[in-house]
Amino acid sequence: METIFVFFAYIGFLLLTLFLHGRTMTGPWFFLLRSFFPNWRFYHRVGPLPVLYVRASSGEGVWRDWRVVMPRARRRVSELFHNPKNNLALANQSLVEHLWSDIKAAENGRAVMGFVSYRLVVLLALEAARLEPGAGVCCQYQFEIRLLPAYGNEVAAATVLTSPVLEA
């Protein structure tokens, strides 16, 4: 009887956590150690997806088209056991999502450029510009963060950040 009571108290507590929202915990250590505080809410909402776009130039003022940098792969059963490239691609996408969170929280546009997330995305974009299929020498590059609408809406993607032209 006592066990059943504890069990239902536990279910009740979990349900309460869904409805009661206290102050959001923030801070650099909280961010780095957030794995200690899992909220277990996976894929619970589908919102606009921040995505990295990159374009490169060989330095003669001619820019190639913007190219989306999104994790995309072919499915293989063996990846259940060994899947480093795809996991890295997913970690890179998480980095872009963290940059989007930082952009939303930033007081002004210039502050964004000092963020670690921005500076890491600069490197990610450089790598993507260099690895572009058929690309020759990359002298300059630029990246954008665009919000792709959810549910396949026909609304065009909104650009939320455009980097300055960067030297490769």
Partner: protein, 265 residues
């Protein structure tokens, strides 16, 4: 009795060790890739710690030096192999716990989201069991460790299900194809069956009901066993459609703890 604390904690350790070995092999692969890759550069990322004291930053500079980081990954795999063959010790679980913390900091808090959270939960449960044993005795300490893992795992299923239940996008089936479109194997083909709202709705509700009901299966170990087998199928689907292989192994390691929890009722 087969389903006692000792056997089930050992089962957790074996599956968890396999999970750690697979993670370790992936990290080693990424480490060699990072020799030519620019992303996740520690010289940039170390500014995440700019608020901390100097000695701590210096400590992480040392820990994340490529040769030290590589040695740590090899050592971690050796300890995981020991865990697989012989079971946990206090040294073993403490090393894995603090090593996991370092790796999480290297990847800005999480490399693979939920699987990192669950990896930390399992290692914490093993730590409760192994550190508590000298004071509480094996039976009580192992029980505490297993129940900690089970409560977290059951909470993960229940919360993940109920938040979907309260979201109309999941209830009417729109969320599933949208998520699959954005997934690593996406976008879905135009004629995919998941684009049919009726099928997407049935699949969504199947996931929601299965996740929400999971804690209720504690009333019977037989039902728990069935739900745990379904869980393996569910996590395989998550891998198959989203490429999240680490989730499969991280949650598989919790299933013996959930079965143990059912035997307590």
């Amino acid at each position: 009795m087969l389903l006692n604390e000792f056997n089930l904690l050992r089962a957790v350790e074996i599956i968890f060790a396999i999970s750690l070995l697979l993670q370790g092999a992936e990290f080693l692969c990424l480490r060699s890739a990072s020799a030519v890759s620019l992303g996740w550069n520690w010289s940039v990322q170390r500014d995440d710690l700019c608020h901390t004291v100097l000695w701590l930053r210096r400590f992480f500079d040392l820990v994340f030096r490529p040769d030290v980081y590589r040695a740590h990954l090899f050592l971690r795999m050796a300890v995981a192999f020991y865990l697989l063959l012989y079971g946990g010790t206090i040294f073993c679980v403490l090393f894995l716990f603090f090593g996991t913390l370092c790796i999480l900091i290297r990847w800005r808090g999480a490399f693979n989201g939920g699987s990192d959270f669950m990896t930390l939960v399992v290692i914490t449960g093993l730590m409760i069991a192994r550190l508590g044993a000298p004071w509480l005795g094996d039976t009580l300490a192992f029980r505490a460790g297993l129940l900690y893992i089970a409560i977290q795992a059951l909470s993960s299923y229940f919360l993940s299900g109920t938040v979907k239940l309260f979201y109309d996008g999941w209830r009417d089936g729109r969320a599933l194809p949208a998520l699959l479109d954005g997934g690593i194997y996406g976008p879905l083909k135009p004629d995919s069956i998941f684009r049919r709202q009726s099928i997407a709705r049935v699949c969504s509700w199947a996931f929601i009901v299965w996740e929400c009901v999971f804690p209720l299966t504690m009333i019977s170990p037989r039902w728990t066993l069935i739900w745990c087998l379904l869980a393996l199928g569910f996590h395989f689907l998550v891998f198959w459609y989203f490429g999240l292989n680490r989730f499969f192994w991280a949650w598989a390691a919790t299933l013996p703890a959930i079965i143990y929890c059912a035997t307590c009722f």
